[in-house]
């Protein structure tokens, strides 16, 4: 741990935070520099996370004690295998910022541009901080940073109903945050500590299991809202569909994953759900709810004709996959869930960015208006096809991996019916992606969109990179396993 690199676990949070704090200053000085500045900050953060990822795979988890206070007295940052997700956050954040350039210039008022990049950096910093922290209360604080910037980003566009969607999200999100906070308080009252590993240790000593169970329920409810699990998903479709497209990509690809990471932290790091203590049928309930989430999400998606609405519902459905994998609590199940955290982020970011590019170019977002768009914007639509095939889970693309592992996990856990639900859900998903592909490629255009051509390069480059990623992650599926396997072994120990 020599030199600056020893401090990377904190710097990956502080650098984007400071970057965000400086963005208004830079925007005040030269408005055009905001985007390069934000991109630079994220690139730098990305480099640090990459370095940490390599170190993690070589030497194992890295703890960092803030202010030199050893836990549980101070706050600890614990860069473990789950925290490797920061790599993804930083990378996708960077790509989204690049993508935003033209989009923001067209869709937002001049005065809001610096605010936009500030909020993007804040939400990314919040997510990174959320993922790496090892302290329950700190988790809550970063959850709030993510949530607040998320609410604001949804409404930044200023079109009709965006404020409505944002407010709905805020109301539900604030309740969920309070649930989490109350859960933290419950746990604190019986353990006297806030450090996750310390709580986990103290929980084995306490006999107040009912308090712990209620706290667990509060956590699950709280994070299920953030992750948009049925029946707490109501806020998601509007919020994700009405937000500016780069923001939708961030929200759908990454922000909902914070709910998942929260669940992982609570279930496996704090409660050690597979451990000696028994917390009732929590996992079973979650698994069945996840099954319902998968099917309902896919079902509702089918009846949408706004492409972003479809993608939003498909997010709900896919969150169901992840939660199902996690709540199976068997080796393969958790592996599948964790892989999909990553792969779904990849796929959904691609989809929303493509939708953004299309809306940017044509101004249409209804499927009926977008017929024949495939001939006009072949690269963008090609990326959508790749992502669609991925999300449906056709091999050898990224989305297939998780399906395979979760089905294995369901069989391993002795619940093949859940695997059946997953497969049924994925068939529904096929139905609506086929609708999109049909409309884009196999129908004649209804509108004279002759002047439409490909999106500008600053949009195409992130899209193409992500689409290639969808393919590569299917073929090199074992790459994330390097991080996921030790993580899961740790959970099940």
């Amino acid at each position: 741990m020599a030199g600056v690199s020893g401090h990377f676990p904190i710097l990956i949070v502080v650098v984007p935070l400071v970057g965000a704090a400086l963005t208004p200053l830079i925007g005040h000085w030269r408005r055009r520099l905001c985007m390069p500045w934000a991109a630079l900050v994220m690139l730098f953060t990305f480099a640090m996370t990459a370095f940490l990822g390599v170190r993690l795979s070589l030497h194992g988890p890295i703890g960092y004690h803030l202010g030199s206070w050893e836990p549980p007295f101070g706050i600890e940052i614990y860069f473990d295998y789950v925290a490797a997700l920061t790599f993804v956050i930083a990378l996708f954040g960077f790509l989204v910022i690049i993508f935003s350039k033209r989009y923001v210039e067209k869709e937002l008022e001049e005065a809001k541009i610096s605010t936009y990049y500030t909020l993007i950096l804040l939400i990314l910093a919040g997510m990174i901080g959320f993922v790496v922290t090892g302290d329950m209360f700190n988790l809550f604080v970063f959850l709030e940073i993510i949530s607040l910037s998320g609410y604001a980003l949804i409404a930044i566009g200023g079109e009709k109903l965006t404020a409505m969607a944002a407010f709905k999200y805020l109301l539900v999100g604030a309740i969920s945050s309070l649930c989490v906070l109350l859960g933290v308080a419950f746990l604190y009252s019986i353990t006297g500590t806030l450090n996750m590993r310390d709580i986990s240790h103290m929980l084995t000593l306490t006999d107040a299991t009912r308090v712990a169970s209620v706290a667990l329920a509060l956590f699950i409810v709280g994070f299920a809202v953030k992750a948009a699990m049925f029946p707490l998903h109501i806020w998601l479709p509007d919020a994700h569909a009405l937000a500016p497209s780069p923001v939708s990509a961030l929200l759908s690809g990454l922000v909902v994953k914070t709910g998942i990471v929260g669940m992982i932290r609570v279930l496996f790091n704090v409660y050690r759900i597979n451990g000696p203590l028994n917390y009732g049928p929590v996992l079973n309930i979650m698994a069945w709810l996840a099954g319902i989430t998968i099917i309902l999400g896919a079902f509702f998606a089918f009846f949408q004709n706004d492409i972003k609405m479809m993608f939003a519902y498909s997010t709900i459905s896919n969150i169901g996959y992840i939660v199902m994998g996690l709540s199976l609590a068997s080796y393969f199940g958790i592996v599948g869930g964790l892989i999909h955290v990553f792969n779904h982020a990849l796929i959904k970011t691609t989809l929303f960015l493509c939708a953004g590019a299309i809306i940017y170019k044509t101004g249409y977002r209804k499927l009926a208006d977008l017929q024949g768009i495939g001939k006009k914007m072949p690269i963008t639509m090609g990326a959508i096809v790749i992502a669609a095939v991925s999300i449906v889970g056709i091999p050898p693309t990224a989305g297939f991996i998780c399906k395979w592992f979760i089905i294995l996990g369901a069989i391993e856990a002795g619940k093949p019916v859940l695997a059946g639900m997953l497969l049924l859900g994925s068939l529904f998903i096929v139905a609506y992606y086929v609708k999109i592909i049909n409309a884009a490629f196999f129908r004649e255009p209804v509108h004279e969109i002759t002047e439409v051509d490909e999106a500008p390069a600053s949009m195409l480059i992130p899209i193409v990179i992500l689409a290639i990623g969808c393919l590569l992650m299917g073929v090199f599926a074992y790459a994330p396993l390097a991080f996921i396997r030790p993580a899961v072994t740790g959970f099940l120990r």
Partner: protein
């Protein structure tokens, strides 16, 4: 027995009750501002709960003054520190919510959830 225990933990009983009342308000009131007030009630209930956790009977404020003799019983300072953070978060949420409501009113001309629902279609 149970009553006795609940009586001893009276603060917690009230805090959880407030939490439920707040939630009830959020769900049932159609006016967005009232909904948000319900949320504030919930926030207050959680804060009440946390400070109650830190309370110590006959404890004094955790400020160490020079010349104070050893062995004074202080209340638990940690929940107080947490509450401070919590309050700030609540204030921030409120500010943003108010801004959103203003925008919402500008866009839709009403703050009634039922009317807004009708507008969505």
């Amino acid at each position: 027995m149970i009553v006795q225990k609940l009586g001893a933990n009276f603060n917690y009983v009230i805090a959880t009750l407030l939490f439920c009342i707040g939630l009830f308000t959020v769900i049932t009131k159609p006016n967005l501002i009232k909904k948000f007030m319900g949320l504030n009630i919930m926030e207050a209930s959680v804060f009440l709960f946390i400070v109650s956790v830190g309370a110590v009977r006959e404890g004094s404020a955790p400020i160490v003054v020079k010349g104070m003799e050893k062995g004074v019983q202080f209340v638990n300072p940690l929940p107080q520190a947490l509450i401070l953070t919590g309050i700030v978060v609540a204030v921030s949420t409120t500010a943003l919510a108010l801004a959103l409501m203003i925008k919402l009113y500008e866009q839709c001309g009403t703050l009634d959830a039922d009317e807004l629902k009708g507008m969505e279609e």
